[in-house]
């Protein structure tokens, strides 16, 4: 009995125990799952938050102004034993952490040469876990679009060649057929004894030509005139570089920068606003953007292959010239000038001022330089001859309104010429001394 009862008792205790263990387990599981839910971020939201707040200084897989952030949470946990708490307070107020003497905070601050990370006090816990979820995503396997377009071009290239080949073959066959027909006809004629048009002997045509002095004279005159025409044409294009399209030391696509991305011409050619020259942009202007753009997008790279250019290699040329160490994200100090080849070049005896045309005249760059935003390789669009300059000065109206300084002279000149709108020529734009002195 006793045994039995104790046994029973034990069972009861055990049952109670198991139930409590189970209950505890449930509670633990519940709390754990809720905490898991709270930490589980939405990588999609995280991406937009990341792009808006972090991407200015952090890349996922390479160092930029700040360190790379791929799997930052797990890496920190493993190497430094620092958890979400640390990250939260670092993101919200990194300067405060550095001041408080946190060892790792100070270490990373020193490692990045005292570049302070902007504080993001507005990011909520959820925002931060979204962002961290985005950083924890595996890198998307780069789809291989470069192979596609090349295949396409080949596809489009082969039919053309095929058609041409077929045409050539057809012509060859036709010629063969004609020769064969002629031969058979001749053999028929031989067989039937028909005399095939035996030619009469007469004076050859060249002898008749030489004997006719009038014809000779006319031909000579025509020949002379024609050659004079061509010689004149050749001489008058000497010194004109229209269509000049040199190969530059670094392939720079105006099509991408000015066309696709819509960067203003004056962003790079800033001295066109204020000086005679439109200016060759210095490399630090390239680096304004290419500090963070070391590689082009895969679509852009594919476009480049159509032109036979590897844009990424060209960016590497830029880095080499400007002395930018991509791994360290710092300048090495060893730079070398890029020998750009000047395309538009007026002779020394003609004066031209960009700021006068761009800022005062308000003329679009494309008026003279052509559709630069579509040029993969820059070329000279206009002839840049004197006739071309003068033509434009004769046709272009000057903006005379809203310029109090010139009101009086505008009125006088309008009266003199009896017109409402004044052209550049009427304002003295054809004076020799304007451009030649």
């Amino acid at each position: 009995m006793e045994d039995n009862s104790t046994n029973n008792m034990q069972q009861v205790i055990l049952r109670k125990l198991t139930s409590t263990v189970l209950r505890l387990g449930f509670i633990v599981l519940l709390t754990f799952s809720t905490s898991l839910k709270a930490q589980e971020g939405d990588p999609v939201k995280g991406k937009s938050l990341y792009n808006a707040n972090c991407a200015a200084c952090h890349k996922l897989d390479s160092k930029m102004t700040g360190p790379a952030l791929r799997n930052v949470e797990t890496r920190l946990q493993e190497t430094e034993g620092l958890g979400r708490e640390w990250l939260n307070s670092w993101i919200r107020n990194s300067a405060g952490m550095i001041k408080s003497g946190d060892a790792y905070a100070n270490k990373i601050y020193k490692e990045y040469n005292g570049t302070a990370m902007t504080a993001f006090p507005t990011l909520s816990d959820q925002d931060i876990s979204d962002i961290l979820a985005y950083t924890a995503e595996e890198p998307a396997v780069a789809a291989a679009p470069p192979t596609d377009p090349s295949g396409q071009t080949q596809e489009t290239g082969t039919p053309n060649k095929l058609i041409l080949g077929a045409l050539a073959l057809l012509f060859g066959l036709l010629a063969m057929a004609l020769i064969l027909v002629r031969r058979t006809l001749n053999s028929f004629a031989d067989a039937k004894g028909v005399d095939v048009a035996a030619r009469e002997k007469s004076t050859p045509i060249w002898k008749a030509f030489v004997q006719n002095q009038f014809l000779v004279l006319v031909t000579v005159i025509i020949l002379l005139l024609a050659s004079a025409y061509f010689v004149f044409g050749y001489l008058s294009q000497i010194g004109i570089d229209q269509g000049y399209e040199p190969v530059q030391p670094i392939h720079y696509s105006h099509r991408i920068h000015a066309g696709d991305n819509g960067i203003d011409c004056k962003y790079c050619h800033s001295s066109a606003r204020v000086s005679k020259h439109s200016g060759i942009p210095s490399l630090n202007i390239c680096m304004n953007c290419h500090k963070s753009i070391a590689e082009v997008a895969p679509e852009t790279l594919a476009e480049g292959q159509e032109f036979g250019v590897d844009y990424n290699a060209e960016i590497q040329k830029l880095y080499a010239a400007v002395g930018w160490n991509q791994a360290d994200q710092s300048y090495t100090g060893e730079s070398q000038p890029v020998k750009w080849i000047r395309i538009h070049n007026l002779p020394d005896f003609a004066y031209f001022n960009h700021s006068q045309h761009v800022m005062v005249g308000g003329i679009e760059c494309q008026t003279c330089h052509g559709p630069v935003q579509e040029m993969e390789v820059m070329y000279q669009f206009s002839p840049l001859t004197m006739g071309w300059c003068i033509n434009c000065h004769r046709e272009t109206n000057v903006k005379v309104e809203d310029n109090a300084y010139y009101t009086k002279i505008h009125e006088q000149l309008s009266k003199k010429y009896g017109v409402d709108k004044l052209t550049v020529a009427q304002m003295g734009g054809l004076e020799c001394g304007k451009c030649h002195y």
């Binding site: 902007t118 203003d264 800033s270 060759i280 963070s292």
Partner: protein, 183 residues
């Protein structure tokens, strides 16, 4: 015909055309951006001599460090008074140099950001940055983080014009924000 082909073959687009009397075309003196024996490193473009300030430029006292930035943010004041701020000119400069990343409204949504070429451009009303006239000018002068220096594209007066314009955009952004919040 042969003559024509001969003439045509003389001109190639990859090299400049022939010139008639080149000594009328080619300058005797050195041209901007050219190579020249007149200077020791063979280039025409030279930096100002150490310790000198080129005409039209001024001394900028704040250093290109984080301390310099904070100092400028707190202490640098604009030399322009309200009558000297030319908004149309500033807007023009802003649209050339800044709007491509920062967006026409200053909300960080420029064309390059929309096309995902450059990311993370902050809005001017970003609370963590809390930009001031001094800090804007400092950043235009030296650049900061991913942004480069614009000191060679904008002179001092233009920089201040743009700075004032940025502050105007910032207050507009903050205005629209508070309107949104109140709704």
């Amino acid at each position: 015909m042969i003559v024509l082909i001969l003439f045509a073959s003389c001109k190639k687009d990859s090299r400049p055309n022939y010139q008639f009397m080149p000594n009328m075309y080619e300058p005797v003196g050195y041209e901007a951006y050219s190579e020249s024996d007149a200077f020791r490193n063979g280039r025409e473009a030279q930096l100002p001599v150490d310790g000198t300030i080129a005409r039209g430029h001024d001394l900028y006292e704040f250093e290109n460090t984080n301390e310099g930035y904070l100092n400028a943010k707190a202490n640098l004041l604009s030399p322009l008074d309200s009558t000297e701020v030319d908004e149309s000119k500033a807007a023009q400069l802003y649209s050339i140099y800044c709007a491509i990343c920062h967006g026409n409204k200053g909300d960080g949504q420029g064309n390059l950001v929309k096309r995902e070429k450059i990311l993370g451009v902050p809005s001017y009303n970003d609370v963590g940055r809390a930009i001031t006239l001094g800090s804007i000018h400092h950043v235009i002068y030296y650049g900061r983080n991913s942004m480069g220096s614009y000191a060679n594209q904008l002179n001092e007066e233009e920089r201040w014009q743009v700075t004032h314009y940025v502050m105007k955009l910032k207050s507009e952004l903050e205005g629209s924000q508070t309107v949104k919040d109140s709704i």
